[in-house]
């Protein structure tokens, strides 16, 4: 039984080490910031989960595995949040991802996302002018098809009221 536990925890620890190593290699070799963050967040979640799982099996039935579970819960809450905050900050400060679609052309120029509201301005929820105009165009395109359908229930209601 002990031997089986040892083997399983050795396998889990080796897998966790491989994830951490892959995260490290990914950070060095990836071309762009966003892909590097994707590789780095692998270390926090996958690597930490497998290593802690491997250590849990070694702990037995004492208080130590409970503490390990608490550490794992804390890590699982905070490290994805940190990765998210980092990538969000990069996106909002204007760092554009290097992307190419299948035909080999790159993304059109221009801001990928609207930048964060400056000091002194409040971010509002009002939609952009051009989005509003595009929405108005779509509504205007669709309404002539709806009008004859809208007249029929009105005619039915008038007939119902008369009778």
């Amino acid at each position: 039984m002990d031997l089986a536990l040892d083997i399983i925890s050795a396998v889990l620890l080796a897998a966790g080490t491989f994830f951490v190593f892959a995260g490290g290699v990914g950070v060095m070799r990836m071309p762009d910031f966003y892909t590097r963050m994707h590789a780095a967040s692998l270390t926090d979640t996958g690597g930490a989960a497998l290593i802690i799982a491997g250590l849990l099996l070694q702990g037995g039935l004492t208080l130590a595995p409970v503490k390990l579970l608490a550490i794992f819960l804390f890590l699982f809450l905070t490290s994805p949040t940190a990765s998210y905050a980092l990538v969000n900050a990069a996106l909002l400060s204007g760092l554009k991802p290097k992307a190419r679609n299948e035909t080999g052309l790159s993304l059109p120029e221009g801001d990928a996302v609207k930048p964060a509201p400056k000091l002194g301005e409040r971010g509002t929820n009002k939609p952009d002018e051009d989005i509003r105009k595009a929405a108005a165009k779509t509504v205007a395109k669709r309404t002539p098809a709806k009008k004859p359908a809208a007249k029929k229930p009105a005619a039915k209601k008038k007939a119902a009221k008369k009778s």
């Binding site: 809450l77 905070t78 949040t81 998210y84 905050a85 969000n88 964060a116 509201p117 000091l119 002194g120 409040r122 971010g123």
Partner: protein, 330 residues
């Protein structure tokens, strides 16, 4: 064997990070690397069997110090630095000093030698007498708070004076009502409220951080812990809340009068315990005379004194952070 390899690896990483701090141009990178330096130092301390010091270095070096550097960086707003001044003289003098130190160090006893001179005089006496005289499991807390209480009193006052200095330099005046309106102040203070995920996760974590700080404070007698670590942790929780919600709401949570009161009361509590011992007939800071049973007197004395230290360190860290944060709201 594996611990030797591990500690060699950690020490080499320390040197590499220090050289990287030296050579980088961007100040933001340098501050982040100094946080990593403190964390590696904390791991090193843990490998060297110093758990209290590792906890303190991790909380204060890697946590609070990085936040203060970033606050100052936001105010000075200079990201890059000019090329170095003619640097032959500093290089030669630093190398000469390093060579002298390495030559002196060659005669030191190797790491972990049980026959080293440093283990012979006072340390065995402390380890032997602590169960008899004080009966507290953590010897470091016993030495810090009771055997060497004067040093810790001086240290509390040094932290207090540093807080006074920062308040005098950066001002503790709240914005005057006639200069800008309060809603403008709230709008202008930077916050992370438009980032939903860090805000929710951060607000969930703040009570647990404060709870852990209180645990570390009161269990300093039985495990690694004590006043300094607890002060840093509770201050870190409050600073996290202020970073997420903005300076104004952070001030609503922990008002200015409260953090200043904490700073003053902590130092007063520490010195007051010493004076109470004198009033009861013993020496200054001799806790054995507080109660009939000297061991109970020691326990209560250590508890009150660590509480004083924790209160002062918490108040100082919160006050210094808010002094930096308020300066940036123009």
């Amino acid at each position: 064997m594996m611990t030797i390899v591990f500690s060699l690896f950690l020490l080499t990483m320390l040197v590499l990070v220090a050289v990287a701090i030296l050579r980088t141009d961007n100040l933001f990178t340098a501050v982040m690397l100094s946080g990593i330096f403190s964390l590696l130092m904390a791991a090193n301390f843990f490998v060297l069997d110093a758990a209290d010091v590792a906890l303190t270095e991790a909380v204060i070096g890697a946590g609070i110090s990085t936040v203060l550097f970033l606050g100052a960086l936001a105010l000075t707003a200079e990201k890059d630095r000019s090329p170095p001044v003619g640097s032959w003289v500093p290089l030669i003098s630093a190398s000469a000093l390093g060579a002298v130190i390495i030559y002196g160090v060659l005669q030191a006893p190797r790491l972990g030698d049980p026959n080293a001179v440093v283990h012979n005089h006072v340390a065995p006496w402390y380890l032997e007498k602590t169960p008899e005289l004080i009966d507290v499991p953590n010897v470091v807390t016993a030495v810090l708070a009771s055997f060497r209480g004067y040093d810790t009193l001086g240290e509390v006052f040094v932290v207090f004076i540093a807080c006074m200095g920062v308040m005098a330099l950066l001002g503790r005046v709240r914005p005057r009502r006639d200069s800008i309106k309060l809603t403008e102040y709230e709008e202008r203070s930077r916050n992370l409220r438009h980032h939903l995920i860090p805000r929710i996760v951060g607000k969930m974590l703040v009570p647990f951080i404060v709870l852990f700080g209180l645990y570390v404070q009161f269990h300093g007698d039985f495990g690694p812990g004590g006043g300094f670590q607890a002060g840093g942790l509770i201050a870190a929780g409050v600073i996290l809340y202020s970073l997420l919600e903005g300076d104004w709401r952070g001030r609503e949570l922990v008002p200015e009068w409260f953090s200043s009161l904490l700073v003053a009361l902590g130092a007063l509590l520490y010195a007051g315990v010493g004076v109470a011992c004198m009033l009861k007939g013993g020496h200054f800071l001799n806790y054995s005379v507080l109660f009939e049973d000297p061991i109970k007197g020691q326990h209560v004395g250590i508890l009150l004194v660590e509480l004083g230290v924790g209160m002062t360190v918490t108040g100082v860290m919160i006050t210094v952070f808010h002094a930096f944060a308020r300066r940036g709201v123009r």
